[in-house]
Symmetry: C2
């Protein structure tokens, strides 16, 4: 495993996605692993930490999530631009070699029977909170974050350090049609003197 990976305090785990990155969703069921890209993933609560993610009915990953009740949300990096686009474009339903074609390498974390994508900047292991109406009507899935880790070269002490890290570790923010932005300049508010 990447020696830079360290656990993130669950109370601060929402910060891995608070700035709105495009994420990779991975899941495992019945001996099948899959990974997809999702731009529509968002923090939902602090304690216990929760998030939402939209999983279209056409995705193979959705079925794995529904059957296993578990998934991983991970934050891919600028170095993974092509990988992110490919796992968001190819489908396991029609391309059994999708993960290999996309260059995805999976690894494990002790205590979690889940596929984690190597090379990301952060990982959130999630337990599905079943909400059948949301899932059916809106493709909206709610997960409780039960494990969190980061690449400490870019996220440590509960904060991102994009400004001091290799630009290849920056998070990706998708618009449409192959158009992404990397996260940019650090801005800090001036605290009032009151």
């Amino acid at each position: 495993m990447n020696p830079h990976i360290a656990p993130v305090d669950l109370a601060k785990s929402y910060r891995l996605i608070n700035h709105g990155p495009t994420v990779l969703v991975s899941a495992r069921h019945g001996g099948v692993d899959n990974v997809m890209a999702a731009a529509w993933c968002c923090a939902l609560d602090f304690a216990p930490p929760k998030l939402t993610v939209v999983l279209d009915k056409a995705t193979a990953t959705r079925a794995l999530v529904e059957h296993s009740g578990m998934f991983v949300i991970q934050v891919p990096t600028a170095a993974q631009l092509q990988l992110t686009h490919q796992v968001g474009t190819l489908s396991l339903s029609t391309d059994a070699g999708k993960l290999a074609t996309s260059g995805v390498q999976l690894f494990g974390m002790d205590g979690f029977d889940l596929p984690f994508v190597d090379g990301c900047a952060g990982w959130l292991a999630c337990r599905l909170i079943p909400e059948p109406h949301n899932q059916q009507a809106y493709d909206l899935f709610i997960g409780e974050i039960v494990g969190a880790w980061s690449d400490t070269r870019v996220f440590s002490g509960g904060h991102w350090h994009f400004e001091d890290a290799d630009p290849a570790l920056r998070s990706l923010h998708y618009v449409a049609g192959g158009q992404f932005y990397a996260i940019g300049q650090a801005l800090r508010v001036q605290e009032s003197k009151e």
Copy 2:
């Protein structure tokens, strides 16, 4: 009104928030206008376009949304860093002069009885889709986007043009504790030759 503002095709309106910016939520009811910041806002569907936003029970804006059934999601800019942090910190419940203190200027759009925040890069007028369980259990609100506009200096033709625009027009991405990032470098995937 800012002469650079133009309507955005509703089919492409999700692109104003697809890259995960922190947003401002505004609403109006009974002669009261309010604006709050929200990092937890996310696209939910393409057609009709929908989004989710998390509105804590402690916010005054939430009550305006619940009573009027309408709200605006807008994308503030790097130039609005302090304003965004202030409307996310002050509460109308305890500070009646919140909007003036924060430097918020409101304007109107024909056909919408809603307060729009001047100086933003994009605006999404939304109709609340009532989902009482989500609202009560998760503070999660679903809106259908019924009107969309952008500042054409930074979003036009259905795409952001951060790379060619004034950096002051870049979107803001909040982490925690006054730590924001502006959106950064444009990245484009290499289309496969297949």
